[in-house]
Subunit: 111 residues, 2 copies
DNA sequence: GCAATAGTTAAGTAAATGCTTCAGTGTTGA
DNA sequence: TCAACACTGAAGCATTTACTTAACTATTGC
């Protein structure tokens, strides 16, 4: 389910917004309530909740409500999926470059 | 310049669109012209050029024009920057979890 | 030279996004 | 019990985004 293209879509979409990345950054240092998440952001609490809902839908953040406070934490598996997508493409490219280098070295030897 | 927050912003923004990720995916297998990039995509060439310009502005793709064809290739450094941002946040979270685990194990020992 | 090719640019448009405000709901602590 | 607290949801609005079409420029091959 982590390599589901639709889920990957939601993840990259979620990471595209600076405010949401700031929220992820904050959460990478430990869990936080919605109000705590909102504190450094210059927008209404309502806006933060909307961002948070997107982050949760993308799978990047998990939340649970106890009493009246919603506690949020990062879901590292989801982060790893996004990381993995990028990593695979980069490696694919770099391997190609290596093979090209080898080829050029060989043809040079043959002269 | 790769950790410039504005550049990171452009990169994640660029990766947010499925068509652009498809283009990156294609390029990870080797260079391509604009027409080749457009071929599997169900949209006008014009739309592809607009996506490509965004990818180039983000630093993820580099292009050079020879005669009338623009050849595109991936810039692995930029991909690595995006990868790195995610990786740092994930590791930060996982280290925190580890410390928490250690703490719980210790306090258990003390009983 | 000239038609086909490869890409570029501008203008317009429909839908999506990122907010805001405001009016709620449920929870807690004194 | 009741005011403060921590959200939640809906409606509205300005901006941005992802296209389209159409008109254009610059190369190339015959």
């Amino acid at each position: 389910m982590l390599h589901d293209p639709a889920q990957l879509d939601l993840m990259f979409q979620a990471l595209a917004d600076p405010a949401r990345r700031q929220m992820v950054d904050r959460l990478s240092r430990g869990p936080a309530s919605v109000t705590q998440l909102a504190e450094p952001l210059e927008m209404s609490l309502s806006a933060v909740v909307q961002h948070l809902n997107l982050l949760e839908a993308s799978g990047l953040v998990r939340t649970q409500k106890v009493g009246r406070v919603r506690t949020c934490q990062i879901e590292p598996k989801a982060l790893r999926a996004a990381e993995h997508w990028i990593n695979e493409r980069r490696l694919s490219w770099e391997r190609r470059l290596d093979r090209l280098g080898d080829f050029l070295a060989e043809t040079k030897d043959e002269n």
